[in-house]
Amino acid sequence: MNKPLRRIAIFCGLLVLALLLRDNYIQYVQADSLRTDTNNRRVAIERYATPRGNIIVNGDPITGYAETKKNGINDFVYKRTYKDGAMWAPVTGYASQAFGATQLEKLDDGILTGNDDQLFFRNTLDMLTGKAKQGGNVVTTLNAAAQKAAYKGLLSRGKGAVAAINPQTGAILALASTPSYDPSAFAGNTNDDAKAWNKLQKKNDPDDPMLNRALRETYPPGSTFKVVTAAAALENGLYTTADQHTSTPLPYILKGTRTELKNEGNIPCRNVSMRDALKVSCNTVFGKIGADLGKDKMQEEAEKFGFNSEQLTPVRSNASVFPKKMDDAQTALSSIGQFETAATPLQMAMVASAVANQGTLMKPYMVDKLQAPNLDVISQTEPEKLSEPLSESNAQILQSMMETVVKEGTGTKALIPGVTVGGKTGTAQHGVANSEKPYAWFISYAKLPDGSSPVAVAVVVEDGSASRDDISGGGLAAPIARDVMKAVIDSKK
């Protein structure tokens, strides 16, 4: 009987071996993916086990933490709190015990909780010296005054969004979205938190307050897109100056169709220069420029400005759209920001910033640096060039055109005494047969006497309350842009 006994011994050994192999697989090979799986509650437990580090604006924290009331079985010790939570929500996102984390709270979770690998050495040292673990800080590039101006301006207008950038570096200065939400309301793990959360969901609130309109909503950009079209005309040599007459008939019939491309009202657009066309916002002139250049050249220029790609700031921004498959008529419509063209507010701020920065587009970013708990800098974001949509001379031509818009055209409400402001209004139609209330747009930049530009801004207002005729970028959006630019300039002084 001993021969089969030995075989059974080997068989039992193999059973144990199979278990050992499986154990190595789940505890070594798969360990990291299991440990960091967001459904694994330990991730959240760890996140709230220590006082969370702060998100910082202009040296002051806009976040905090509070000890969760101990009810015995709650395994989360601390919860997140926010100062002016609704105003900053498009920047911070939220960190909720019950509902997870988003945006900066999620992307820099490792730093904020103190669990990031970059803090490993320090944590080990702390463990040896018996110090409690702490979270690090995320220092943002935002400007509190500009953010406040943006948020206040939007609140008075209902729904909308603002994005402001420093054109020279790409640093994001303001990122506001209304209606907003206070992430403190559902930061915990109680029934009240769940109620607050449910109330904010799109199915219960058609205004969708949790949508980050500045980064995640794409709107038809309307006439503000004409800046891109003008840039394409200059870059491709279709016209070489701002004041050269264009050959534009009025009425202009869309190529290949019998449809007339109309202007808003009875404005002088026949054969006018690009400067005059931008000033009064002629659809015919820029529609024809788009059709003359063709979809490929238009697309190339739009993509240089950042269209058709996501931006990681590091919070992800949706890709703005410049359509790829179009006929000539559709190209003309797309070139005035209609048809399927759609842009995030951040994208249009990038357009203004590239013009202001002498044609160079900087990569937008909102995290200046990451700090260890003892304020040592762990990593610093260096400004980075994204592309060069315009030559310096063409950028200056386009600047002079945009400055005319503010001085004499549709954008006069953006004027700031003692500062040169260039801008472009937009009123974008949307909905089936353009039946819904249009979006009011304004993009602009401010230029200091030394020629440097500290801020470029894009504002969009979805004004549901105003009457259709009243909506124009110049009336609704430009004053907000002006306040934001002024706040940035004032804070520099």
Partner: protein
Amino acid sequence: MSSSTNTPTHHTSTIGSIGAPSRRNTELALLVFAVVIPVFAYANVGLAIDDKVPTGLLSYGLGLGLLAGVAHLAVRKFAPYADPLLLPLATLLNGLGLVIIWRLDQSKLLQSIHQAGNAAPRQLMYTALAIALFVAVLFFLKDHRVLQRYTYISMVGALVLLLLPLVPGLGADLTYGAKIWISVAGFSIQPGEFAKIVLAVFFAGYLMVKRDALALASRRFMGLYLPRGRDLGPIIVVWAISILILVFETDLGTSLLFFGMFVIMLYVATERTSWIVFGLLMSGAGAVGVASFEPHVQTRVQAWLDPMHEYMLSRAGVQDGIIHSEQAMQALWAFGSGGTLGTGLGQGHSELIRFAANSDFILATFGEELGLAGVMAILMLYGLITERGIRTALAARDPFGKLLAVGLSGAFALQVFVVAGGVMGLIPLTGMTMPFLASGGSSVIANWALIAILIRISDTARRPAPAPAPSPDAEMTQVVRP
């Protein structure tokens, strides 16, 4: 005697030659470690959870030490030549199990859902009962061959034990589907744990008598000697009973365990590989067949193939007549979060497994808090118990002892494989307990009885043969024995 039957004796070195050491002092030294390690682990848990050495440390340490001491003295007295590893290994596992059960008792979450709270004191009491039974077995069972007399009584006993959970009013549906519990006077008992031992006695007695007949071959087919048709009877009966267990008690683990044990013993008794092939074919066919219509088995398989999906269904509260459980995924997360070295005792979150965290799923807590290193050590301990058991079978001089030892060891190994494999997601999950570690009276009592029987067989096997009577043939005998 032909030379072929003599061959095995060349290798069975554990057959004690005259004057072999009893190894009782080795056992005692190992036992000291087996008691001290859990005591340190206990202190470790207390320090991690409350920042202080637990108040019960002394009584726990003394309690475990006393139990181990009593068991050791009993072995020293009644089975002095027994295998020295079995008792320390079982003590260590039992002690570590107690520590982890106590650790899970401290979880507020588990307390709030009545899955823990005072399980550790109860487990300590069951351990005391188990040691009492261990001593009783060693005391009353002077020779394991006595059990051979009860072959057919054992068969009846095993069947009764297996069918008890199906008796109306007695069966308790505690484990969400698997009906393997009965409740008597407020106690929940898992008769299957005891049936394991009783069945091994029956199989050993039966196969010892019938093995010659069962080994007869009818013809050769693809290199295998096929058994005669009429000899297929017993295996078909056992198979049918296993299938019935699977269908009516919906427990794949118990079913697999008993059938596997029978096939192992049949193979050892007859030395015919064809029985293994038949066994594998029949269990495969049975499992697939039952799974095709039994929804409970199907969910278990689903949860095994895609635990994440099952977790999502459970979280979403999907009501489709099947109980969806997030446990399989929770167990995997516990293991994964432990990583190579674990979080340290008392610092994990395995309470998230909730139901049966301290019984069927206790290995997950070891995985999280002691890591890959700890679980591998635990698995090696189980492996050692099994291999010592099979070594005992090799050393045993009588066929009944060999069969009984290999049956018990094989069943032990299969149970560890089925439970640990289920918790780690290697095979579908079944409702069985980790021997010695898991909280539960039936399991710990039955497994100590199993160790007692193995110790009895190994004592008989290693016991020095009576001094040979002075014989004029002595010289010649030595020539025969190389």
